[in-house]
Symmetry: C2
Amino acid sequence: MQIDQDLLYSWGAVAKKYKKNEVIFDENEVANYYYQILEGSVRMYNSNEEGKEFTQGLFYIGDGFGEPPLLIDETYPSKAITTEESTILKLSKDKFLKIIDEYPSIQKYFLVLFAKKIHSKSKTSKEIINQKPEYRIIAFLNSYKKKLGNSSEKILIPYTRQEIANNTGLRVETVIRAFSKMNVSHKVEIINHKIFY
Amino acid sequence: MQIDQDLLYSWGAVAKKYKKNEVIFDENEVANYYYQILEGSVRMYNSNEEGKEFTQGLFYIGDGFGEPPLLIDETYPSKAITTEESTILKLSKDKFLKIIDEYPSIQKYFLVLFAKKIHSKSKTSKEIINQKPEYRIIAFLNSYKKKLGNSSEKILIPYTRQEIANNTGLRVETVIRAFSKMNVSHKVEIINHKIFY
DNA sequence: CGGTTCCTTGAGGATGATCAACGAGGGTGG
DNA sequence: CCACCCTCGTTGATCATCCTCAAGGAACCG
């Protein structure tokens, strides 16, 4: 699920190494490159004056990110940073647009990918409006579980409470208190601080 | 900015009349048709148990809507109703997918359209997280003004306070009180209950 | 003129945000 | 091996703010 690496290289893409927490692009920056992760992971997010953050997307090996602005001459709506040491392929905007135009299967791939993004963003806003913290958190957990695809069994949630807060627009303390309640009501299981859902 | 009507008809699209406030499709329904508005307007929204609503999108003459789920075999994330008497073209899912595949220019059109939707949804969630009512409202007003494209002059906002509330995830009273303050601080002008921004 | 729909205001309450403080665990360098 | 410093999780108290509920007024339309 990505553009073939050799193809990217043949069009002039360059791999670049990033340290942990390095900024790849900033909010309101003009979009000039297509990015695809070779190694590591990336977080796109917004933050406001009070330091509250909202995660717009998390990307892992093989994922591309930051494409939409390339197609519409817009600036990035969010900031992107690495969450660990990473290697990322960079391809210039005009080459990316040419690839899109020359390879129908790739264009189709992005069309489907975008459809998924729209769908998931719609669901996210829907849940966030539904303000009750517990709803928001469960929606986040569900979307994580859905991405994994499998199982109705309880799984370990690999996020810190702060990360969950950033994904749901809540504060850490609120997330912690919500989890305590959800533990009592058996909606999640907390074993040694680890969350199972 | 739409699929040519004659083309749609030639592929078997059918025009259907809807009364005001008629449901076109409901949340979680399986997506079977592509819709394009010939006349009237449509609102997509979610509502929760307490009756609070959140508008996901407003669509007018010429706009298509409800496409993303068609491409990814998903159900609709929101409900769609007409906001006035409307005539809407309906084309079956498989025909729509064939059109996408057979006309590269149409596929490209949707790719760009989707990119815009992703961009605007990203901006929306960003503003909503930023919870201050005033921020959310101004973000909504800005996005409306941007759609019109023109002018830095003050324009009349053609939405009721309830509609603005539904678009921002706030309550009517909160919207009203926020506008009062914004009136005092000259961020908007309110003349005879009408809002100018 | 009567009936909607929309707007407005006040009072009170619920709840998430804030602020402050602390404990536990892991890793690092001396 | 120990001291120190991170990051992460936790708890309690207080606060600010938006929501709720209730009621009434204004505007518009047939």
